[in-house]
């Protein structure tokens, strides 16, 4: 039931996330885009669990937990970064250039 449309939505959401990560400069927006990609995967899990059992739904909880932890750590890093460099524009943060 509605498996095809669900997967299509999740694919669209994932692609939007990827494009956001690739194209945006602001670190906070990139973090948000990563969240978007994770939730696109969550949608896939839930959609497929109708046919493949409840494992997918259980796994969604794990992903949400990890995403929450990741958001906390990521935001902390961004705050630390901002304090040092007065910016969250990743184009201006290129210390590792060879």
């Amino acid at each position: 039931m509605l498996l095809g449309p669900s997967l299509a939505v999740s694919a669209i959401l994932f692609s939007i996330g990827v494009m956001g990560v690739l194209l945006r400069r602001n670190a906070i927006v990139i973090l948000m885009c990563i969240e978007l990609m994770l939730n696109a995967v969550n949608l896939t899990f839930v959609a497929l669990s109708q046919q493949l059992g409840l494992d997918g739904q259980v796994f969604v909880f794990f992903v949400m937990t990890v995403a929450a932890a990741e958001a906390a750590v990521g935001l902390a890093i961004i705050i630390a970064l901002y304090r040092h460099r007065d910016t969250v524009n990743l184009q201006r943060i290129n210390l590792l250039r060879g």
Binding site: V18, Q91, I93, L96, R97, G98
Partner: protein
Amino acid sequence: MNPLAGTAADWVGLAILLPFAGFLANGALAFLKPKAKRTVSVIGVGSVVAAFVVAVAVFLAVRAAHPAAPYVQTFWSWIPVGDLSVNAGLQVDQLSVVMLLVVTGVSSLIHLFSVGYMHDDPGYARYFAYLNLFVAFMLVLVLGASFPVMFIGWEGVGLCSYLLIGFWFEEKEKADAGLKAFLVNRIGDVGFLIAMFLIFTHLGTLDFRETFARAPQGLAAGGGTVTAIALFLFMACVGKSAQIPLYVWLPDAMAGPTPVSALIHAATMVTAGVYLVARANILFAMAPVASAVVAGVGALTALFAATIGLKQWDIKKVLAYSTISQLGYMFVGVGVGAYASGMFHLVTHAFFKALLFLGAGSVIHVMHQAYHHTHRQADAQDMRNMGGLAAYMPWTARTMWVATLAIAGIPPLAGFFSKDGILGAAFARGQGQPFYLLVWLLGIVAAFLTAFYMGRLMLYTFHGPNRTGDLERPYLTEAPWVMTAPLIVLAALTIVGGALNLPHVETLRHWLEPLTAQSAAFVPDLALSGGVEIGLMVGAALIGIAGLWLAGRILKPEALLPPERAPQETGFAKLLLEKYRVDEFYRRFIIEPLVWFARVVLWKGVDAGLIDTAGVNGSAALARGLGWIGSRIESGQVGTYVVFFLIGAVAVLAALLK
């Protein structure tokens, strides 16, 4: 079962271990207590005398058993690789026991002499450590039961020779002389190695017994292989025993202490080549061409070195060239197939040449002391500074006269019989092959020159007026007993040594027969008719007497001037004084091109040019270039990394889905 099993021959390894233990003890003392001269003397002399006692016991056992085959003791398997199996083993037979006796006996006397000669040297303990190590290695050389074991000794004595020539290494030319000896010997050692490779390739063994047993069947007599093996072995002998063209190191080796010259560069180590030919006699007997080369080189060397000896002023240099000349005789002996005669001359030469060198050492010691007292800088080895020493050093003069008469070939001293045996054998071989008559003729001329230069040496050193200096004269006395006693013992051996192998009795020849019997099939019998033999003997004795008489007749010791006022030599005499300029020739045409090649081609071209530029710096430049390309990708932009990450993820996904 060999009849020697269970006899004293089982303990022959002790003869090597004792001097080696002496080396370790004296070497430790050289570092810890170099002043403990008494302890060093007891260990140094005692260990070698003990080895001599072992040697006598082994000799008595061999004489009692007289085994038909060598007695080999195998201690452990040394090199077991594939088909090659070399055991660490020692071989006792009639030949090795003769060398064992000569080496330990002469060494004992020379060690004793060294106690007096080296007494005031600060490197006393180091000296005895080296000398003991030399004896140990020489015995490994003599007793080794296979070519590789012998090679260990062969290289070991070369090492000790190097260490002892350069014993006073603070003086550059003495250190250089040691290096020269070592390097020249390396050329010969290459021959030894190649000979071993050939023997193993064609006979599949390096063991003496096996090699010599298989040789008559495994190799074609007179063929290329056996000739090559014999010639490469002879190349090693040419280096070690100072024959043309590699003899140049031996005169320079006189830079070492005189007892070392007596032991290593006259009596034992330099005769190792003769021993090697005698040991491998079957290989040389099967290769007539190689034997002819051995005899020819020996005869040429005997004459060539004798002529140089005519004009040398350094007493040790005369004896050095005399040694080269006498070694040439030994090679004539083993070259014409008279292996026992060659060994006989080796033994008698060990006696009288050690005696001559020790006598010269005693003279130098006294001369040096006299000049030391008056602080005069004069050459204690130049015969022009000597003269009339017989009045001050009667025992040295007497014993050296005995040796001189022996080397000149005056009957009934040892040198007469041994030299006559060699020349007689060469003459006998000359009946069928005229080449050997030429060898005999060269030997006769060299014998005359030998008598002449030895007469000259004795005349200038011990007779005529004394030229040492008026202030120094009161200090000229006889050397202490530790130095004269070995002289007297050696003089006694020189007198009776001829009894070893008297004509027609031929004790030594019969003694060595078990080892040379195989060769008899290839070398024709060397019998001469009685009349010819007696004629040759009388002729040889007359030639020796003529040489001495001529020296006494034309040389005028009273007209001799000290070195600083001596007139310039001209013509052929100058050429002789300059030793035919062979060293200069080698320097110009071998050493300098070699150094040029090493410097310009190998160093500047191959090493600095090719390896450093292309290899070392080139690979570094390549790595840096690749790194530069890689570093362009590292933009520091997170976006770039994500793009690469994405491309990678898609690629992995594509690979998985395929």
